[in-house]
């Protein structure tokens, strides 16, 4: 950069001498140097501002999707596990992950200014075409970039480059402006000295740019070699990295990124785009064969190329057969899939949960399935769940629906669908709620209010509120009603402030688990111990009122978030105290979690409701 400044000085000095007829003074040179440096600095600042955009913005710029840690997609799951393993091996924390959807090429890069802010972005092609070990090698390579501070180094190099680009751009502008550009009007601006100065600056800038690029590329190549070596050190598997490189060569898309922004980020990628001959000087990555020879000197690259040219065997996945009416098989308890995922998703269903609902929907009768699709049908399903079998009571309930301000057809639809719902196992009730909620959320304010009002009337009409009806009403109320839009207001800071309410809910959970008073007391004690509040007293079974429980839950909903989590843990300890979780306990816990707006503890959340005892 000093050379560039000196050159610009010389040019300016020459111009001045020609123009003013006298040699330039000391001050003039000083002024020119300062101006040149200022111009370069301006250019750098501009690129810094652009590149220090947040990590998410960078990935979104390239059309990436974030990978949530709780993802259930196989390829994303594999990526998350691979990144976690590399984080353990390298001692870094696992960074957030993004996947570039529309890129079939195989590539990966890291973005972000410091290790704490780093994100790893991988193309969809890499997820699909690389084997687990090869993916791990690529991730290890990216991790070593983070570890060795290459991001920062590259950023600085790019900044300096941009500054010089800015200088060259100014030179070109001066050149064009003051040369008159051929038009009649343009001739007015003709000014030879400045034009000459412009040519000079442009020339200096361009040559400087080329030199800087060559230097930067050489540095980048060395860093790439370092990253390759570190990757092999972390994975202890040289084969995998060579395999990944070979697969990039074999892939028709190679490592090419379709997005037009990719050019600016060329230096950050795992492998370069296939370039022209001129690129060899300014290539930011060593050629693929050279990299492979360095990684594994004992094996010729051709071996890997041959292996990569054979297509990878992608296992055929057996999709859930939607036509069959047999009961879905017991589902893996640990990861939230199928029914457990649905129950856990009450309150905020996501696209993945609805995917897994396919298996459950296949099992449901077609009319139920159809009803769940639109808001009116969903309402009828929910009301149908609580309609009683006995004729007189049912009549009263249907009349009550008619009194609420809901759609005229609702009562009839609910009556029609009720027998089908009664045939379903009780365990399906909460999953049904989860399936209905998306459609119910499509209702507007007034309709939601009317629906909840109708539900309340129906529950009152049979003059008896069972625990499971309470659970249903609570969940729907807190998911759809005005309470669903509660802010994060915190009125109580510690569990101890809500001792009475906590005792009430714990007692309910204890009695729900077992009718034997001694066992209930033991479960209550466990929950009490988990919270560290020895003063809590088990309430009398007959003294437990559901209205009191509802109020207690409402108070708990404005507890501090960390305390809420503790509370939920204590509840699940009580529930699991006797070693088995009953369906009722599971439902109550789910209602509590919905009110507290907290995720259920994983061990309980993962239980398939259909496998629980009633």
């Amino acid at each position: 950069m000093a050379a560039i400044v000196a050159c610009v000085d010389l040019v300016a000095g020459a111009v001045y001498r020609v123009w003013a007829g006298a040699p330039a003074g000391q001050n003039f040179h000083l002024a020119t140097s300062l101006i040149t440096l200022a111009v370069i600095a301006l250019g750098s600042l501009e690129i810094v501002a652009r590149l220090s955009m947040g990590r998410g913005e960078l990935a979104t710029l390239l059309a990436g999707r974030p990978v949530p840690r709780s993802s259930v997609r196989d390829d994303e799951r594999r990526l998350i596990n691979v990144v976690d393993e590399m984080a353990i091996a390298s001692g870094l924390a696992a960074p957030p992950l993004y996947v570039l959807n529309r890129e079939p090429g195989i590539n990966a890069f890291v973005a972000g200014l410091s290790p704490g802010q780093a994100v790893v972005v991988v193309t969809q092609g890499a997820l699909e075409q690389l084997s687990r070990d090869e993916l791990q090698a690529v991730i290890a390579h990216e991790f070593s970039h983070i570890l060795h501070g290459d991001i920062r180094l590259n950023l600085r190099a790019v900044c300096v480059l941009q500054g010089i680009v800015f200088l060259a751009a100014i030179g070109r502008f001066m050149m064009q402006y003051y040369s008159g550009a051929g038009t009649e009007e343009g001739r007015r601006f003709f000014h030879l000295p400045l034009a000459a100065a412009g040519i000079g600056v442009f020339a200096v800038g361009s040559v400087g740019l080329l030199c800087c690029r060559i230097i930067q590329a050489a540095i980048a190549r060395e860093r790439e070699n370092l990253a390759d070596a570190s990757a092999v050190r972390f994975t202890r598997n040289a084969d995998a990295l060579c395999g990944a490189l070979a697969r990039i060569r074999a892939n028709s898309e190679g490592a090419r990124l379709r997005n037009w922004h990719a050019d600016a980020l060329a230096h950050m990628l795992f492998a370069p785009d296939s370039g022209s001959w001129l690129r060899s000087l300014v290539a930011t990555h060593p050629p693929i064969e050279e990299r492979m020879r360095r990684i594994n000197p004992h094996v010729s690259p051709d071996f890997y190329f041959e292996k990569a040219s054979k297509p990878r065997v992608i296992e055929e996945k057996v999709k859930a057969r939607a036509a069959e009416k047999e009961k879905p098989r017991p589902i893996v308890p640990k990861r939230l899939t199928g029914v457990a995922a649905l129950v856990a998703s009450i309150g905020d269903p996501g696209a993945e949960h609805l995917e897994y609902a396919a298996g459950l929907l296949a099992y449901l009768a077609p009319s139920i399935r159809q009803a769940l699709g639109d808001p009116l049908g969903a309402q009828s399903v929910m009301l149908g769940c609580v309609l009683e079998e006995e004729l007189t009571i049912r009549g009263r309930q249907l009349a009550a629906i008619g009194k609420a301000g809901v759609h005229a057809d609702l009562a009839r639809k609910a009556e029609v669908i009720a027998p089908l719902l009664r045939q379903l196992d009780r365990a399906y009730r909460l999953p049904l709620v989860a399936l209905a909620v998306p459609a119910l959320k499509g209702l507007d304010e007034a309709s939601r209010h009317a629906f909840l009002d109708a539900l309340r009337r129906v529950l009152v009409a049979d003059q008896r509120l069972t625990l499971s009806e309470f659970v249903l009403a609570t969940i729907l109320d807190w998911t759809l009603g005005p309470k669903a839009r509660r802010g994060g207001e915190v009125r109580y800071k510690a569990c101890a402030e809500l001792a009475a309410e906590t005792a009430l809910v714990l007692s309910l959970l204890a009695y729900a688990g077992s009718s034997d008073p001694a066992e209930a007391a033991a479960a209550f004690d466990k929950g009490r111990a988990a919270l560290g509040l020895p003063a809590l007293a088990l309430a009398e079974r007959d003294a437990l009122q559901l209205s009191g429980i509802a109020k207690a839950l409402e108070r708990m909903s404005v507890l501090a978030p960390l305390e809420k989590q503790r509370l939920l843990e204590a509840f699940s300890t009580t529930v699991a105290a006797d070693g088995n979780v009953k369906l009722m306990e599971h439902e109550l816990l789910r209602a509590a979690a919905c009110v507290l707006d907290c995720p259920m503890p994983p061990s309980v959340a993962a239980l398939d409701p259909r496998l629980l005892r009633k």
Binding site: N81, S90, R132, K334, R335, T337, A606
Partner: protein
Amino acid sequence: MEGWIALAVIAALAFWAIAIYNALVQLRNRYKNSYAQIDVQLKRRYDLIPNLVEAAKGYLTHERETLQAVIAARGAAVGAAQKAAAAPGDPAAMQGLAQAEGVLGGALGRLLAVFEAYPDLKANQNVMQVQEELASTENKVAFSRQAYNDTVMEYNTKRESFPDNIFAGMFGFTAAMLLEATESAEERKAPKVSFK
């Protein structure tokens, strides 16, 4: 004049010793941390195994011995871990733990190999997820052991290099032990895969 020079030299030596001490402390704490991390992964593996076995049970009705071996090995490993936690530093307890871990690793490896023998099992999405989790758990345990060995290597190298070894003994930095392979007879047993 000489007095000032001597003072400067002594001060330089003191700073040098401090720098070496701090670097050694940092590396020592790093390897102690990596040792603790291994336990984290092992505990995760203990917690994960019952669920995984439960999931696989339905499909692997003919591989009962393999599954039972895994369950038994896990129980033994948990017991050994509790014993070791109760008596930290006791070499017999550590040895018992290492052996139980080895047996568990072998049993899990055989279970993974068994999956390969059932093509329709492999095609099932649930089982593939189970397999992925199993493999990842084993990898995490292995990588945490590897990370521990790497940090111990850095510490030992620094401790034994020339200028530092003068001060290391003085400050009481002892050599750290690498984790050797804990192969028991169980682990060395190759998994049996029959092509029926």
